[in-house]
């Protein structure tokens, strides 16, 4: 098994989770595994795990018992992630929420979108060796 992604095996990974706190650890595990295969170092993987956990918590608090989908888009030296609520909601995220502040501090890119009343959180982590 290849230890890292390369140009031929960069594939988008999508998982759908119930808005249930019991599955946040599954999201962290998936993120950790994908980041590890991209050769992110331990500190970067911890940052990604924490950011994923915060995003999942935000969605669980706003999911109203529904589901949300996480799309992992690996590319050389960076991992992009998109969290999308699978049903409409009038709720929005508080930009001053501690979870949002953490994601902003831990990731290199972060944005929220509320198109069609389906909140989306997008974030990206860049492997530091690629950003030098």
């Amino acid at each position: 098994m290849d230890n890292e992604f390369n140009g031929s095996n960069l594939q988008t990974i999508e998982i759908s989770l119930p808005g249930n706190a019991a599955y946040v650890s599954s999201a962290r595990l998936a993120a950790s595994s994908i980041a590890g295969r991209l050769n992110f170092d331990v500190d970067e993987i911890e940052d990604i795990k924490a950011a994923v956990s915060e995003a999942c918590s935000l969605f669980i608090e706003n999911a109203g018992g529904g589901t949300f989908t996480i799309t992992f888009a690996p590319s050389p030296g960076k991992l992009s992630m998109k969290f999308r609520l699978n049903q409409e909601t009038s709720a929005s995220f508080d930009d001053a929420a501690i979870g949002i502040l953490m994601i902003k501090a831990l990731m290199d890119k972060f944005e929220t979108d509320y198109k069609d009343k389906r909140p989306v959180i997008s974030m990206q982590k860049i492997h530091h060796e690629f950003s030098l």
Binding site: A22, S53, S57, G99, M102
Partner: protein
Amino acid sequence: MDYQITPSYDAEKSVWNVALSGEFDIFNSPELKTELNNLIKGEGKAELVLDCEELTFMDSTAIGTLVAVLKNVKVHNGSITLKNVKPSVLKLFKITSLDKIFNIAGDANG
């Protein structure tokens, strides 16, 4: 998800030592809150030392839980000390500036 909350009472120092292990997030933070608040209520003593040597992950929900417990502890003129905090966990306390309101006694690598 593996996690444990293991309290032991040091009668000599009148302190609850609580070993935390595993991961704490939105799922098990309510249990963490209940367990810690019960310790304070049970002994009427509000000194907590949380040993984080085996604590591998904590998110803002869990940190928020500790803040809530700290408020309760302060009502009883007590304090919360965290020791052996891993750098990855300490980083989250620093990002939120909550490292200033807890006694943090050193990280697991030092």
